[in-house]
Structure formats: structure tokens, C-alpha cells
């Protein structure tokens, strides 16, 4: 039973409780190596977040209802902590190329309307050396001065100097610049189409530094294989979308020099 419902850009945002005015929205959409997805799922589980908002669209998403504990849930959900400081968005389904742009725009608008201070997007960046890397590196890119300051609070992370971002985070970043929403995208070296829990753990360590919460990642590393089994199908679905939205641009260096 929702207490408030609002339609933004073709998506229905159904709030089950009053979410208040959180400081951070952590976004984990399916992308390279499902890094963001794995990180946010682990964060929600280990910190005991509860479902606060359901996001759905009858025209832009496949006709899917997620059932858990006998209850029908929206395929995209926002979970939150007890004191209303952090909310985290996660999806059960791969986003189609048709829904990426409207969902990203709707998300930025929702954050703006709810007065959430920061969007922190978690994702992977394809590195051909990933197979030999023991510890993936974290990179960041920001939309505003405040978000840049947040990025510099992670000493082990590097600022992205040049390159391309393709996919939902590119739209979130561009729309955040346009609407002056503080957005910080954190990216970890990852495989393209193999779920990468180690990269997700690296991102969570970096995230812990800026949100002021200690997210334990040992269990995520331990259960890495189980995570890969669980997310194998989502990875296959996401791979076909990545090919269609021009993810190949990320391998190119910008033309302007």
C-alpha cells in the first residue's frame, strides 16, 4: 500500500513510506560486469535496508512483477536505512535500450523533487587488464563542484581525465549537470560481461569513505561464486543491451586533444 504516488516521465514512483529528505541516493543499475548492481544488493542486505519506493512503468519495462515472501514488488526498487539518510536503488531486470533514457531522466527529476543532496552512481569500467589485476582501481566523475569535493574524499580513487561514458550513467551525469544535481559516478575496473563481485567490493570500500558507513565486504568476496550464479541471467540480458547502446565508445579516446 503506497502512501504517495507520482508519475515522472512515464515511470510511476510509488512511495510505501515517507522517505523524508535523504542525503545520498546510491544507484546500482545493470551495466558493465553488473558491478553497481552487485554492490548495491550487498549494501542493502548487509545493512538491513528496507523497501521504501517501487518504480514501475507499464509501457517502458517488460510486464514483470517480482514476488518475494508472497508479496508483489516493483521491478525497480529503492531501499533505505532506518534514519532516512541513505537510499539505494536497485533493479531486478535488465534495462532495455528503450527505457534507459526515460528512466535516467526520471531518476534525476525524482532526486531533485525530493531534495536528495547527492546521487552516487556505482558502475564498472571495462579494463582489458582486469584478468591480471588483483585490486581494481576506482575512478570518479562528477557533475558539480560539491560532487567533485566528494570525489576528492576518496584518496584511492582517481578522477577520470578523459574518455566516454555510455549508458544510463551518461544520461544521469548529463541531466545532473543540466539540472545542477550533485552526482558522483564511481567506476571500478571490471570485466565487460562476467559479474565482478571483487570490483563491487572495491567500490563499496570507496563508498564507505564518503557516506560515513562501514559496509563489510568480506562476505561478498566469500560468496562471490554464488553471486555470479545468481546474476548470470541478468548479465546475459544486460550484455545484449550494452552492445546495442554503443558501449564500444568507451574503448575510444576522445577526438578533441
Amino acid at each position: 500500500m503506497s502512501v504517495y504516488e507520482e508519475e515522472i516521465g512515464g515511470f510511476i514512483f510509488r512511495e510505501y513510506v515517507d522517505i523524508g529528505k535523504p542525503k545520498f541516493m546510491i544507484v546500482g543499475l545493470p551495466d558493465v560486469g553488473l558491478v553497481g548492481e552487485i554492490a548495491v544488493l550487498h549494501m542493502i542486505r548487509s545493512l538491513g535496508f528496507t523497501n521504501k519506493v517501487g518504480i514501475d512503468s507499464y509501457t517502458l519495462l517488460p510486464p514483470v512483477a517480482v514476488v518475494k515472501g508472497g508479496e508483489g514488488l516493483c521491478p525497480i526498487r529503492v531501499y533505505g536505512d532506518g534514519d532516512g539518510r541513505i537510499v539505494a536503488l536497485v533493479t531486478d531486470i535488465a534495462l532495455s535500450s528503450r527505457s534507459i533514457v526515460p528512466l535516467s531522466l526520471a531518476l534525476v527529476e525524482y532526486v531533485r523533487l525530493r531534495g536528495i543532496e547527492y546521487i552516487i552512481g556505482l558502475t564498472g569500467i571495462v579494463n582489458p587488464e582486469r584478468a591480471e589485476l588483483l585490486k581494481p582501481t576506482v575512478y570518479w566523475v562528477a557533475s558539480t563542484y560539491d560532487a567533485i569535493k566528494l570525489g576528492y574524499n576518496i584518496p584511492e580513487a582517481k578522477r577520470v581525465e578523459e574518455g566516454y561514458i555510455v549508458g544510463p550513467y551518461a544520461i544521469i551525469l548529463k541531466e545532473s549537470i543540466r539540472r545542477r544535481v550533485n552526482t558522483l559516478i564511481l567506476m571500478a575496473d571490471s570485466f565487460l560481461d562476467i559479474p565482478d563481485p571483487e570490483a563491487a567490493a572495491t567500490l563499496l570500500r570507496a563508498l564507505s569513505r564518503i557516506i560515513g558507513l562501514d559496509i563489510p565486504v568480506d562476505k561478498l568476496i566469500e560468496e562471490g561464486e554464488l553471486v555470479k550464479i545468481r546474476l548470470k541471467e541478468l548479465m546475459k540480458e544486460t550484455r545484449s543491451t550494452l552492445a546495442r547502446i554503443g558501449k564500444g565508445y568507451e574503448y575510444r579516446t576522445p577526438i578533441v586533444y
Binding site: 535500450s97 528503450r98 582489458p128 561464486e225 548470470k232 546475459k236 545484449s240
Partner: protein, 165 residues
Amino acid sequence: MVYIMIAYYDPFELARKRIFKAIREAMREFEREFEELEEMAEEYMREVHELEKIFEDRIDEIRRGYTEPLSTIIDKEDKLLLVIEAPEAREDTIEVTVTEDKIRVEGKIDKSKVEKALGKHIYTKKLEMVKGEYKLPYKLDPSKVRIEKRGNKIHIWIPKQPETY
């Protein structure tokens, strides 16, 4: 002979031109919208086909009793690195076979691990094996392929033919 053009104001001619211009613009707008709708329909159909394929693959996996491992291929200048991960398989049962034109990976499913990850789903019960077959883009000497097994992860280093890099 001298012809003299006499220009005169014809309000009906002007109205006629304006109407035709408006019709042409409306037609162009209609065509643009129609093209957009066509593109949307094509995109939608592509998605439907993909969902159908995913569904058929899943049904096939249950019917055949095996699933394919996760894999990715990385270009490394003079070599190709094929990374294969079979987290569902029992580590001691994974076998890699290299012939001159393909690489085959097989392993037995670790039932307890898969059940722990996915629950006692019909899909879990029917799976017996992990099998993957990867066709090589050219024929090569199998002894030149280097295989590294790291648990359920397999790294296969494939030399490129000189003309391919």
C-alpha cells in the same frame, strides 16, 4: 517585342499558397512522426525477439540438462585471452579440450552450490553439466594454447596468427 510583367496583389493566390505550405508542413511533420513510430516499433520487436531468445535458451538448458559457463574474450595485442568462469561446476571435474579449431570446456554441476544460490527451483534440479564450446577464428596448433586454471576460473591464452594483429 517587349513584354511587361504586371504584378498585382491577388489575395486568393496568397491564401492558396499559404494553405499549400501548411499542408506540406503538416505532411512533413506526419512523415517524421511516422518514421519515429516505425523506429520505436522496430526497437520494440528487437526487444521481443531478444526476450524470446532468452526464454528459449532457458528452456533449452533445462531440456539438455546443461548450462553454458560465463565467458569473455580480451584482445591482448599478439594473443587473445578467453576467460571462462563456471561457478556452478565442481572444481575437480572441469576439463578443457583444445582442438585445432575449437575449445571445449565441461564440468559437473555442484548441486549444493547451485541450490544455495538459486534455491530448489526446477531449473536447479534439471541441470547436470556446465558445457561451453568456443569456435576459433582460425586453425591453430593446440600445443601453442596456454591454459591456466584458477579454481573455477579458466584463462586460455590463444596466439594470434601474424596477419591478424
